[in-house]
């Protein structure tokens, strides 16, 4: 069974249509990369998958998005949905709290109070985000004192602490240096074993390196999607080929 199925998804910002009839499936435990020129709707699309667009006024959505066969706009409670579908943003956005409290925030709001359990979750999540060794001595320092790359991995740890099934990443490395980027790419490789990952990226090499599937967006349309090798080396659509070979965008 598919993890996510998107059917005829349209999205409007007021009068402006930002997504046009999107149809797409996501396999469980795979990495799907979303590529396309700036403003083509990648962020908009990824934010429909955990209903972050609900927070923006004037957004109209039609079509269906199924998670494990259930319509997330009709059959799933938005809070349950966001627990299952976590998100990592383009700019690292730690809360102005300690490292520990950042990671423990999710479990806490979902009702976990027990100190020992929280400790375990924090440690496990930070380890899974490959950050534990760097912060284990400053768990109770402000998260804002970490470097950008560390902050981003902290945000990943924070997402993992809620034990999601799907992780959405919107250009998670675009604000980071090459070393931090590499660490996060390695991390994605690792996380794929447990989670389904959808990642937006402007970096073709990155898409090639980390993803199993690739989807190419242009002007709100999903032009083409399929296994990464196929999209990269044997695209069906001329526009995909032009974009990937760098002829426009």
């Amino acid at each position: 069974m598919k993890k996510i199925e998107v059917r005829d998804l349209d999205l409007f910002y007021g009068e402006v249509q930002a997504l046009k009839k999107i149809n797409l499936d996501v396999e469980p435990n795979s990495v799907l990369a979303l590529i396309g020129p700036s403003g083509c709707g990648k962020s908009t699309f990824i934010r429909t998958l955990n209903r972050m667009n609900d927070l923006i006024e004037g957004v109209k959505i039609s079509g269906t998005v199924l998670l494990d066969g259930k319509d997330i706009y009709k059959e799933v409670d938005v809070i349950e949905l966001r627990k299952k579908v976590g998100m990592v943003f383009q700019k690292p956005n730690p809360f102005p709290m300690t490292v520990y409290d950042n990671v423990a925030y999710g479990p806490r709001i979902h009702g976990i109070r027990d100190k020992r359990t929280l400790n375990e979750i924090v440690e496990k999540s930070l380890k899974a985000a490959a950050l534990w060794d760097e912060v284990k001595d400053r768990l109770h320092h402000s998260a804002l004192s970490l470097s950008g790359g560390q902050q981003q991995r902290l945000c990943i740890a924070r997402t993992l602490a809620v034990e999601p099934e799907v992780i959405l990443m919107d250009e998670p490395t675009s604000a980071l240096d090459p070393i931090s980027t590499m660490k996060i790419e390695e991390l994605i490789e690792e996380l794929k074993k447990k989670y389904t990952i959808i990642i937006v990226t402007h970096n073709m090499q990155q898409a090639g390196r980390v993803s199993d599937y690739t989807a190419f967006f242009l002007n709100g349309e999903l032009v083409e999607w399929g296994p990464t090798d196929q999209v990269f080396y044997n695209p069906k659509d001329k526009r995909t080929e032009d974009y990937i070979t760098g002829r426009f965008g």
Partner: protein, 295 residues
């Protein structure tokens, strides 16, 4: 789920608080206007007060309030604007700028009764003017300067630097750039600010008790000799304002209709302040649209 229940309860709570405040304000305004309704007529607004008997008006007090407002603005707007320009365009980070900033903050949180006492000592006693319009205007200037400085500084700082650069690139001096480009562009913000502060000046009483005084000579509007005590042009006559009058009537009002007078005067004061507020909103909107070229 518990979290969702709490969220619902919290949402309801916030709506209740907001609704309560708005309802409260409306009933407050409604009450004042309702109580003062019988006095909202021309004769009350123009005739002089009476002592020991009913039927007095608030003519001189209203006039004093307006005159005092105008004089205060004439003194404090240029200085406040100047200081605002300095802070926005010239001040460099450093001790001196910090001291000015601290001064502005200190002045703006100064209790107005303290400013009144300062005025009593310096503008009333040391100058030898006695309780006078001028002393009142200077005390109000002390209150208004920090506000004016802040308003101008904020308005000027929000002018995009591309405008300044464009002017400099044409060879303008800094002063030309400020006076011909920056300040005009900041005008909507500055004007709106002036009108809002005008509302505050108009309603101020504590700073005036011991500066402009608690009495007003009957004014003779055909007397244009500025040294005559009954002339409206005399800046050194005692000049009780409307706000001060409300205070005085309640504490030592001898007229049998003292209560109605205070009701009426409160309604007038409130209407004035509401007018300032609405006018500032309206003007701000108009000027903003004109600047951004929207219609």
């Amino acid at each position: 789920m518990k979290a969702k229940l709490y969220d619902k309860i919290a949402t309801i709570y916030f709506y209740v608080v907001a609704g309560f405040l708005v309802a409260f304000l409306i009933s407050l305004i409604g009450y004042i206007l309702y109580q003062g309704r019988t006095r909202l007529n021309l004769s009350f607004l123009t005739s002089p007060p009476k002592f020991m008997e009913a039927g007095g008006g608030i003519g001189p007090q209203l006039f004093n309030s307006i005159e005092l407002l105008v004089i205060t603005l004439i003194i404090s707007v240029p200085i406040g604007l100047g200081a605002g320009i300095y802070m926005a365009e010239y001040a460099r980070p450093g001790l001196f700028t910090e001291v000015i900033r601290l001064s502005v903050e200190t002045l703006s949180s100064m209790p107005s009764i303290v400013v009144g006492l300062f005025g009593l000592l310096v503008f009333v006693t040391m100058t030898g003017w006695g309780y006078s319009l001028m002393a009142g205007a200077l005390a109000l200037t002390v209150l208004n300067l920090p506000v004016m400085t802040r308003v101008s500084e904020d308005a000027i700082k929000s002018v995009p630097s591309s405008l300044r650069e464009a002017s400099f690139a044409l060879g303008a001096t800094k002063w030309q750039t400020i006076t011909k480009v920056v300040v005009p562009a900041a005008m909507p913000g500055i004007l709106t600010g002036i009108i809002l502060t005008a509302g505050r000046i108009f309603g101020e009483a504590a700073a005036l008790l011991y500066t402009a005084g608690m009495s007003s000579p009957a004014l003779n509007f055909s007397n244009l000799n500025p040294s005559s005590p009954t002339s409206p042009l005399n800046l050194f006559r005692p000049a009780e304002t409307l706000a001060v009058y409300i205070w005085k009537v309640n504490s030592e009002g001898l007229a049998p209709d003292a209560r109605q007078i205070a009701d009426g005067a409160s309604a007038v004061l409130l209407l004035a302040v509401l007018t300032f507020n609405l006018f500032a909103r309206w003007l701000g909107g108009v000027l903003y649209r004109r600047m951004t070229g929207e219609r």
